[in-house]
């Protein structure tokens, strides 16, 4: 019987587990002590991103990194959780192990990330929550758009401008469990309440992804070929729905709107300019604002940064698309 390899295996596992229990660690100072800050120092910022595969989050990462490049001493490291909550928890824990000076996090879902964010906060690491919320109050600052207001603005656009005589609307929502999805849905329903002729006939999640949005729209457009418009919670899903409609030959009769309005060639503003989307609503990434807050906390040693920063929104239609794109610094 080959007992030796088995014993070796047990030994290894046992060694690993017991080294966890018995490893000597120098008493670390300043775990929950006063935050370290000051001018002329180097700071390591950990950015825990929910899903790099989403264009919105790519732009958020770029915004953060570009803004951080302008602050001497700031190093930003980005970790991608690829929509897996467990991975994001592990990412944050790795940042804590590396003793980051500040944590920026855009959580995949609110509940699973709350505990680990609280752990970071209790340790004295300043935490800036971007775009999606965690539960409770254990964070330094939250920066995000008002998704309910954006949804409401979209709803009012539908009620007054896009479908003034009413019609059937298909909704393609974001990842269930993420706060923006719930809020954009809620706001939209508030917005269309003023026009009782508008009816939401179907609502399915596209998980913020273009391909998912396309496959969901495929099915929904087959079930409701008389739909007048598609309300997608973000631009990639709206573009996916447009492709689905094109395949079904419905792209001229159905109208599409999205949210995000990223000033990039593949973003929503260009899509409006080129006629695929009827409108989109700006949802700023908040990356620059986050780094600005970080600078105030780490370099200026400020202890009273605003708890909640709400980013504004604007409506983009074919009238202002080109001009807005240029103004927001988009490259052609």
């Amino acid at each position: 019987m080959r007992t030796r390899p088995v014993l070796l295996a047990l030994l290894c596992t046992g060694a690993l587990v017991s080294s966890v229990a018995c490893s000597v660690e120098k008493p670390s100072d300043g775990d929950a002590a006063a935050p370290n800050c000051g001018a002329g120092r180097d700071f390591l910022i950990g950015m825990s991103q929910a899903n790099n595969a989403e264009p919105y989050r790519q732009v958020m990462n770029n915004d953060v990194q570009t803004a951080a490049a302008g602050v001497p001493g700031f190093t930003v490291v980005v970790a991608d959780a690829a929509q897996d909550n467990s991975k994001q928890v592990a990412d944050v824990e790795n940042f804590l192990t590396q003793r980051v000076d500040l944590l920026i996090i855009s959580p995949n879902e609110a509940k699973p990330l709350t505990a680990v964010v609280q752990k970071a906060y209790d340790r004295g690491v300043p935490v800036i929550v971007l775009d999606r919320k965690v539960e409770g109050e254990a964070y330094t600052a939250f920066i995000g758009g008002d998704n309910v207001a954006i949804g409401r603005a979209a709803g009012e656009f539908y009620a007054g401008t896009l479908l003034p005589d009413g019609g059937k609307v298909i909704e393609i929502s974001g990842l269930p469990g993420s706060t923006p999805a719930a809020e954009r849905a809620q706001g939209f329903r508030e917005g269309i309440a003023g026009n009782p002729e508008i009816e939401i006939v179907a609502s399915q999640p596209g998980d913020w992804l273009r391909d998912k949005g396309q496959s969901v729209a495929d099915a929904l457009l087959k079930t409701h070929p008389d739909a007048a418009a598609v309300y997608a919670h973000n631009d990639p899903m709206a573009e996916g729905a447009y492709l689905a409609a094109k395949a079904a030959g419905l792209h001229t009769t159905v109208k599409f709107t999205g949210i995000d309005a990223l000033p990039v060639p593949s973003g929503g503003i260009k899509a409006v300019e080129q006629g695929r989307l009827a409108a989109t609503f700006q949802y700023a990434t908040g990356g620059r604002e986050a780094v600005d807050l970080a600078r105030r906390i780490l370099v200026d040693c400020s202890t009273d940064v605003p708890r909640t920063t709400t980013l504004g929104t604007m409506q983009i239609t074919s009238e202002n698309a080109a001009e807005t794109y240029a103004r927001l610094g988009g490259v052609s």
Partner: protein, 363 residues
């Protein structure tokens, strides 16, 4: 695709009762300690290849670990605790996967069963007011039953396990979404009506504040599995079926029963991982566990078990799971770009599989 060499066709090696190659064993059943020749030395080395690789990666991790104030971050209590905790769920799933792969099959549904069981745990405790023991028992039974059904489909109906479990993946995912209404079920602790018993929170804690509870469960299940795989007749049957199913059936091995049992074990262990998952994240979400089956298969492959079935060891799988966990950790601590991380992990898996192929052609 079935591996053409039956175990024991190599000169100098004899076949053990469990059907694995045993280097150093003489044809008369004795055992030589010293390798007699290059072939056998290589065979010996390969037998512990996964442990060797684990030690190698461990040493590498210590060497490339970032340092702070002279302290090696990788070896810190906190970090090693994180490593074993992160490895636990995939490790437990990989234990079940090893049984299936030894049989010559594959189980793609384990990630979805994890999601289903996480949802079940959360729903039963929070919405239906079950106690911990009742909720966990029901969920484990569901996992085992689901697995058993898949085993039956592949054994009796003769459908390839790849296809059966691919379908099972969709079914489990769908059931999870239906049961939860599509949303994650948050778990709040307390004595109130919509709250789970506080004792469940132990899954998120550690013993002595140091050794994470999921890691203890992983090691316990792993050791139990090693014992089962070495000592029981059941295990011998698994190896026999994996090596040559026709011969096994003709020798009187109850193939149908063994297959059903093996897939039931895989489903059961995936359900265990799901319970732990719900405890760790305080949520039962139907979307969780996506892709975990691939990580589990990677651990099994790195551990030296052949996907063709019939050869392999549980110790190898445990080593493979730990290796992947350490690899993930050092890549993250060294801030390697996420995309490069994917590349490296893929290369490691290919290298492990390549080594296996090499082993067969050298010896």
């Amino acid at each position: 695709m079935t591996h053409l060499s039956a175990p024991g066709k190599r000169p100098g090696a004899a076949v053990g009762p469990a059907g694995e190659e045993r280097p150093g064993a003489t044809a008369t059943g004795g055992h030589r300690w010293f390798p007699a020749g290059r072939g056998e030395l290589v065979e010996r080395l390969f037998a512990v290849q996964s442990l060797f690789a684990l030690l190698l990666v461990f040493v590498l991790a210590v060497v490339v670990s970032p340092r702070r104030d002279g302290e090696i971050i990788f070896l810190s209590t906190e970090n090693l605790g994180n490593v074993v905790r992160a490895v636990s769920e995939i490790g437990i799933i990989a234990v079940g996967m090893t049984f299936v792969v030894l049989l010559g099959g594959i189980d793609l549904s384990v990630g979805a069963i994890l999601g289903l069981s996480a949802v079940g745990t959360a729903t039963l405790m929070v919405d239906s007011g079950f106690g911990i023991v009742a909720a966990v028992t029901v969920v484990l039974l569901i996992g085992a039953l689901f697995g058993a059904l898949q085993g039956y489909a592949t054994a009796r109906l003769g459908i390839q396990s790849f296809i059966v479990t691919l379908a099972g993946l969709q079914v489990a995912r769908g059931l999870a979404r239906i049961w939860s209404g599509g949303l994650g079920i948050p778990i709040a602790y307390g004595d109130g009506p919509q709250e789970a018993p506080a004792a469940f929170e132990i899954l998120n804690g550690s013993i002595n504040g140091v050794v994470p509870v999921p890691a203890v469960l992983f090691v316990g299940i792993g050791v139990a599995a090693i014992v089962v795989l070495r000592k029981t007749a059941f295990a011998r049957h698994v190896y026999a079926i994996g090596g040559n199913e026709k011969a096994a059936r003709l020798s009187g091995v109850p193939v149908l029963r063994v297959k059903v049992a093996v897939f039931a074990i895989a489903g059961l262990l995936a359900a265990v991982a799901g319970v732990i998952h719900a405890g760790q994240l305080n949520q039962g979400s139907p979307n969780d566990g996506a892709g975990y089956e691939l990580d589990a298969i990677a651990a099994v492959v790195i551990g030296g078990t052949s996907l063709a079935g019939g050869t392999g060891s549980m110790g190898g799988t445990l080593a493979g799971a730990l290796l992947l966990g350490i690899l993930n950790n050092i890549l993250a601590l060294n801030n390697i770009d996420a995309n490069v991380q994917l590349l490296i992990k893929g290369l490691v898996i290919v290298a492990a599989a390549g080594l296996q192929k090499l082993r067969r052609s050298i010896v």
